[in-house]
């Protein structure tokens, strides 16, 4: 993880559960549905992804550039923040409405 205050970017992994389609985040020992549990995969990002895809523990995975924050890693791109939280127009379907969509 980067230093507190987000001075360093982190590289987190996301993808979908093959069978259910759920959005998942690499949490170090497995995949989680919660962005807050995502870990910095750093230089190993691509090799972890390849291994996990080959074992079908993730589908259509990719690396997300994020910044480390007190609330956990926060994707830099709005698309991935929406991915992590859910459709902004249906907060009743959201996984997590505390993720800021627009960067401050």
């Amino acid at each position: 993880m980067g230093q507190a205050g987000g001075e360093y970017g982190v590289r987190i992994l996301t993808g979908n559960d093959l069978k259910t389609g759920d959005v998942i985040w690499w949490a170090g020992e497995g995949w989680s549905r919660h962005l807050a549990e995502a870990v910095d995969a750093g230089h190993d990002a691509e090799s972890i992804l390849a291994r996990e895809e080959a074992e079908r523990r993730v589908n259509a995975g990719y690396v997300v550039e994020a910044e480390a924050t007190d609330a956990g890693p926060m994707p830099l791109h709005i698309k991935d923040r929406i991915r992590a939280s859910g459709p902004t127009v249906r907060t009743d379907l959201a996984i997590n409405t505390s993720i800021p969509i627009i960067k401050a």
Binding site: N16, T20, G21, V23, I78, R83, P87, V89, L93
Partner: protein, 543 residues
């Protein structure tokens, strides 16, 4: 409407089992995602921003109450209690599981529905006019031709791996209610010496390089239609660009060859195709046409509507169109309530619309490319009761073709291809203009929003178009004016520098103010824009 015979049913059932096995092989690891992707796409299953998304075909936008009930059932059983009606007359479900997909397709097949070729580089759902069969201005019902093409295009072995997607629309009136000229192939049925034939346009489309399709063939008779479209497709399959995904549609081929050369190559191939006896006999189109015969209209019923209740009168004037049969009317159910998500309907609303169709519309509904629902066979005497029931369910917005009748793609809220969200912009605009009197004063304004250049929101064809872009990681919106998907097809032009979400709403409002200040008698927004040009609008918006 068309009903499957045992052959149609057997084919759809086989397709379900084929996909069931393909999904099983994917889950078991016998297929990689790269190998599986085209297979799931040709069954309408995308992997989207939040989950798998399933796009179910509603052929030429026509469905029965029973089928509509099934769409509600799928939303409840497999998804999150709602569906989204699209600009190609299909329905999308956003929260599908791969492990359920085959069962969903089996449920659909049980009511003669499917998700065949609703995605992928193949021939997609054939779309048509939502007033087909009930409008006085049509030469013939276009839907039998659309059904003939649907069967011809389903699992066509030569055209399963085209350079890119291929969209066909069929209309049969001079008024184009289906944006026909903005399709890869657009067909207008016309009459020559008493014979109905197809005028064929090829090479329209939106996306990165929007184009209005040129006319390629002035008249093809029904006994040669299949040979002709095969020729059009074969030339495309052989010579369409495959080096660049953004240059792979047939519009690019037609543009680069020139319409004359493309026409020449098609004629050559058409002459060859005609020697192969691949056209169905005319008896086949006649067989299909019999399914679309006029229903048993009641004769001698009242052709009057009691407009004494003001809110009902407003709805009739805006959302009800003239029917070819005396005593009947065509009613549009708006899926665009102020502040709502354009095209979305809850499972309960879908069930209600199905019930209303059964009770008031001879059990038939239509989906429009503007993401609304039409009841095509309503007795005028039933309109008031129908309206009351729609009103109670939030489905009676009297805004057909008004500024709040917005076409919007799902955008970045749902779509991994998008650059910006489109739905919040639609919501803010419809809220800004919520006053119905204000909307009616503005009159017809076709406002269309796309969240990216793929243009699923048809922004190029908007009188007012909005395109979401990514500006250094922030959502930004370009404003366009002057597009039209009707018979006077034109492509919208960008007004100037883009806006943020609040800015675009203000800009739209300023544009409508300019229109009101400059309009002449009888002019819609589009007409005034075409007459006065961009300058007055630009000045007001950018100051």
């Amino acid at each position: 409407m068309y009903r499957y015979d045992s052959y149609d049913q057997a084919i759809v059932d086989a397709r379900v089992e084929e996909f069931r096995d393909q999904a099983r092989r994917r889950i078991a690891g016998e297929l990689t995602e790269d190998q599986f992707k085209p297979l799931r796409l040709t069954n309408g299953l995308y992997l989207q921003l939040h989950a798998y998304m399933l796009r179910v075909a509603i052929p030429y936008g026509t469905l029965s109450g029973r089928q509509m009930h099934m769409l509600a059932h799928i939303a409840r059983k497999y998804d999150r209690d709602y569906g989204h009606f699209t600009t190609r007359q299909n329905i999308q479900y956003n929260w599908i599981k791969l492990e359920d997909a085959a069962d969903i397709l089996a449920d659909l097949a049980s009511v003669e529905m499917h998700a065949i070729q609703t995605s992928g580089n193949c021939i997609r759902n054939i779309s048509s006019d939502q007033y087909a069969g009930v409008s006085a201005d049509e030469v013939a019902d276009p839907r039998p031709w659309a059904e003939l093409l649907r069967q011809w295009s389903s699992f066509h072995p030569e055209f399963s791996y085209l350079p890119r997607k291929f969209k066909i629309a069929v209309i049969a009136s001079q008024e184009d209610r289906a944006a026909m000229k903005l399709h890869d192939i657009g067909i207008e049925l016309v009459k020559r010496d008493g014979v109905v034939g197809a005028k064929v346009f090829v090479g329209g489309g939106m996306g990165r390089t929007p184009m209005v399709a040129p006319e390629i063939k002035d008249f093809v008779t029904e006994d040669e239609l299949i040979s002709y479209v095969e020729a059009c497709l074969r030339v495309y399959n052989r010579y369409g660009r495959r080096d660049n995904k953004y240059k792979a549609r047939i519009k690019i081929l037609v543009h680069e060859l020139g319409a004359d050369e493309y026409r020449r190559q098609v004629e050559e191939e058409f002459a060859h195709m005609k020697t192969l006896s691949i056209d169905p006999p005319v008896a086949e189109l006649a067989r299909i046409r019999a399914h679309f015969a006029d229903p048993a209209y009641q004769a001698g019923i009242s052709d009057d509507i009691d407009l004494s209740y003001p809110d009902f009168a407003v709805w009739v004037r805006q959302n009800v169109a003239a029917h070819k049969q005396p005593g009947y009317a065509i009613a549009t159910i708006s899926l665009k309530p102020a502040g709502g998500i354009p095209g979305d309907a809850s499972a309960d609303q879908i069930d209600l619309m199905a019930d209303l169709a059964a009770q008031y519309s001879m059990d038939e509904l239509r989906v429009t490319h503007a993401q609304n629902i039409v009841l095509p066979y309503v007795k005028k005497a039933d309109l008031y009761t129908l309206w009351q029931k729609l009103d109670a369910a939030g489905l009676a917005s009297a805004n057909l073709d008004l500024i709040s009748d917005i076409i919007a793609c799902p955008g970045l809220d749902y779509c991994s291809l998008a650059n910006a969200r489109s739905i919040p912009v639609a919501q803010k605009i419809s809220e800004r203009f919520a006053d119905l009197d204000r909307q009616r004063d503005l009159g017809e304004v076709k406002l269309k929003i796309s969240g990216c250049i793929n243009a699923c929101g048809h922004h190029h064809a908007g009188h007012i178009g909005i395109l979401g872009v990514d500006r250094k990681g922030t959502e930004n919106y370009q404003l366009l004016f002057g597009g039209s998907g009707a018979e006077d097809a034109s492509l919208a032009k960008i007004v100037g520098p883009g806006f943020d979400e609040d800015g675009i709403v203000d800009a739209v409002e300023k544009a409508t103010d300019v229109y009101k200040s400059l309009r002449q008698e009888g002019e819609r927004f589009l007409d005034t824009y075409r007459r006065v040009g961009m300058e007055p609008f630009k000045e007001a918006i950018y100051g």
